[in-house]
Structures are given as structure tokens and as C-alpha cells.
Amino acid sequence: MSLTCQVQVILNNISKKKAKAVKKALEPDNVNFPKGLSLYVENIDSKLIFNFESKENMKQLVGTVDEVLEHIQVALKVIE
């Protein structure tokens, strides 16, 4: 039996300009993910949505969510 886990992080009430800046700041690092791990970022209206998915390795998923959340925090702080 294989285990697949999905995590969705939503930033609400974020301006389009800020959402675009955060998305662009994080995207270049979303490469060379370990096998089975993925991240898809989408900007819908005033929401920035981060979709994480991991097959089997939950430790990697937790580590990735942790790092991405930290990067979002930094990106928002420095543009403010």
C-alpha cells in the first residue's frame, strides 16, 4: 500500500502585486525535487495557494512545507 499526502497552504487577502512577487521569489527554487514530492503554486484572485504532494516520504514533505513557509515569511517581510 502506498501513502500519498497532500498539503494545501493558502495565503488569504494578499494583493496581486505581493502575490506575484512572492510566487516569483519562490519559484526558481522549486526544481530538482526528490522523487514523489511536488509543489504547485497558483494565484487565484486575492489568494496565493501552495499545493504540496508527497508519495511515501512524509519527512521530506514536512521539511519542504517548513522551508517554503519560512521563505514566504521572509519574502513578505522584506517587501513590506
Partner: protein
């Protein structure tokens, strides 16, 4: 032209602002926060990156205030894209990309090692030097030829900075340990024989590290003295051979270990024998700092278009001899 440079390759998070007029550069501010692991421990990449995460907004804000510059005054932003620790590099890159994207400022990824060299040239006035880059991340002898830095010798295993740090940590010091070792070494003249390993024009320090550790159990000062004398003699031999081979008339030493006075003393003797001028980067800028990244970014902006955001990667093992230098 005003630039912001962001450095985050290892234990230092730093931002600096430099104003460039013609070939001259004036450092308006250089603010740093350094991750200090507990005594006896090395850098854990994720712990260092968390330190950078917490401190980056503060460092950036202090840097802008000290320079009396607003983000909107910046003409370019440069960041250290490698070599370095992945999680740490990504923090600097995220800060740079966020500002670049939000404020529409051109962005330049910079090679950290080239940053050491270019800042050294700016601050010392060296023109065409043989460069000794010695730090926690590098031990390299370099000469510039046909738009690239060529390696004339390097470490085959650990760097000179790692040798000093790992030995210092084994004695219970906190990294960086170079200063503690230098202080202890200055109180001894009792040399204990240690392995001396120069292969071709490369050096190897791992055997020296293993052999020095047991000596420190008998006498810390003798161990520090003997370690420094042996490692620096190995470096001096390779520098002397490279000076002779390249016929360079200048030697410049950059990187964190450039702060060591005994190393400078030994290299000055080498330069005297070869009629070469000796330059050492000022102590304040020997270690990792935003200025090295900022100045190199400003130099690159003279000849290169800025990078598109989607191409602003970080590369953990980006060798400086793979970079084409056109400025």
C-alpha cells in the same frame, strides 16, 4: 550607480550598499549577523538558514538606514548564488528575488568566491595579482588569464579554514576558531613534527588535522603553533611555486583566514624573495560580507543584462573557474 548586495552562503547573513562612480566604489553600509553554533559544534545548514530567516529583514533595514538609501534608490540587486550551503543560499536568493520582483529592480546572481577577489582588488588597489583565497569554503591559488580565473593549486580535501575550525572545535572552541588558535600559537615556539602534504601544487590538510589532535592533549599551545607553522608553510610553498611559474608581481590574500597575521608574515617573506608586492584584504572585509557580492554585481552590470527571475538559481557547488569575467 547604487547597488545592494546580499550574502548568505554559510554562517553570515549580510547586506551591503555600494555607490559606484566610474571605476571607484564607496561602501555606504555593510551590515552582518553571524550564526554562531555552540562551542565544539559545526554549522548545521538548516539551523544557519533559520538564523538567516529571522535576521534578514532586520539586516536589510539596518543596511538601508545606515546608507541613508531607500529600496527605490537601488539600481541593481545582487546576491550570492553559490558556492555555499543550499538552505542558506536560498534565503539570500528569496530576499533578492522578492525585492527585485516587487520593486522592479534588475537582479544579478554572483559567484561568492569571485566576490572575495573583486572586493579585495577594490580595497587593496591590486591590479593583476596572484590570488590566495583562504576561508572556510575555499583554499585556492588563482591567476587571471583570458577572461577566467585559473586554478594554480587548491586543497584536495578540507580547506584551510576547515582545518583551523575543526581543530579548534576539537579543543572546545566555538567556530570560527582561527583567532583562538592564532593567539595560542603566538605563545609557543616548540615545534612538534607533523605531516606536510603538498602534492604537485595542491595541498592536503586532513592528515595534518588527524595528527595534530592527539598533540593538543599534551600541549594546546604547541599543537596550535605546530599546526599553523606546518599548514602555512605548505601554503607558502605553493604560493612561491605559483609566483615563479606565473611571474606575477603582486600577491593578494583574501578570505577569512587572510586575517591571520602569521600567514601574512610568511607570505610577505615569499613576496620579498620574488620581488612581488603583497596585498591583504582589510580585516573588516576578510570574511564573508555583502560588499563582496554588491561590488561584483555592480561590475557585472557594466557588461551584462540582468538575469530573468526564473533563471535566478542557486548552485551549491559553483566553481569560480567556470565563470567568464568580461568586465
Amino acid at each position: 550607480m547604487i547597488g545592494l548586495g546580499i550574502e548568505s552562503t554559510a554562517h553570515t547573513f549580510s547586506c551591503a550598499i555600494i555607490e559606484k562612480k566610474g571605476k571607484k566604489g564607496k561602501i555606504l553600509s555593510d551590515v552582518r549577523k553571524i550564526f554562531r553554533p555552540e562551542a565544539g559544534q559545526g554549522i548545521h545548514p538548516r539551523e544557519a538558514s533559520r538564523h538567516h530567516i529571522e535576521n534578514s529583514p532586520i539586516v536589510l533595514s539596518e543596511c538601508l538606514n545606515e546608507a541613508n538609501v531607500s529600496v527605490k534608490d537601488l539600481d541593481i540587486i545582487s546576491y550570492a548564488a553559490g558556492p555555499g550551503l543550499g538552505p542558506c543560499l536560498r534565503v539570500g536568493a528569496v530576499v533578492a528575488r522578492s525585492l527585485s520582483s516587487f520593486y522592479k529592480i534588475p537582479i544579478y546572481p554572483v559567484n561568492h568566491a569571485i566576490g572575495h577577489i573583486e572586493l579585495g582588488k577594490l580595497l587593496t588597489g591590486a591590479n593583476d595579482p596572484l590570488v590566495l583565497l583562504v576561508s572556510g569554503g575555499h583554499t585556492m591559488l588563482l591567476s587571471f588569464l583570458n577572461k577566467q580565473w585559473r586554478v594554480f593549486g587548491e586543497t584536495l580535501d578540507i580547506t584551510l579554514g576547515q582545518l583551523l575550525d575543526q581543530f579548534g572545535r576539537s579543543m572546545g572552541f566555538a567556530s570560527p576558531c582561527g583567532k583562538n588558535i592564532e593567539e595560542l600559537a603566538s605563545t609557543s615556539t616548540n615545534y612538534v613534527s607533523l605531516p606536510y602534504s603538498v602534492k604537485g601544487n595542491d595541498v592536503s590538510f586532513s592528515g595534518l588535522l588527524s595528527a595534530t589532535k592527539p598533540i593538543s592533549e599534551k600541549s594546546k599551545v604547541d599543537a596550535c603553533y605546530s599546526l599553523q607553522e606546518t599548514a602555512f608553510a605548505m601554503i607558502s610553498e605553493t604560493v612561491e611555486r605559483a609566483l615563479s611559474f606565473t611571474s606575477k608581481k603582486e600577491l593578494m590574500i583574501v578570505g577569512g583566514v587572510a586575517a591571520n597575521k602569521r600567514l601574512s608574515e610568511m607570505l610577505k617573506d615569499v613576496c620579498k624573495r620574488h620581488g612581488a608586492k603583497f596585498f591583504v584584504v582589510p580585516l573588516k572585509y576578510a570574511g564573508d560580507c555583502g560588499s563582496q557580492i554588491c561590488w561584483t554585481g555592480l561590475l557585472e552590470s557594466q557588461v551584462k543584462k540582468s538575469a530573468t527571475l526564473k533563471d535566478t538559481f542557486v548552485t551549491q557547488s559553483w566553481r569560480l573557474d567556470s565563470v567568464v569575467v568580461n568586465y
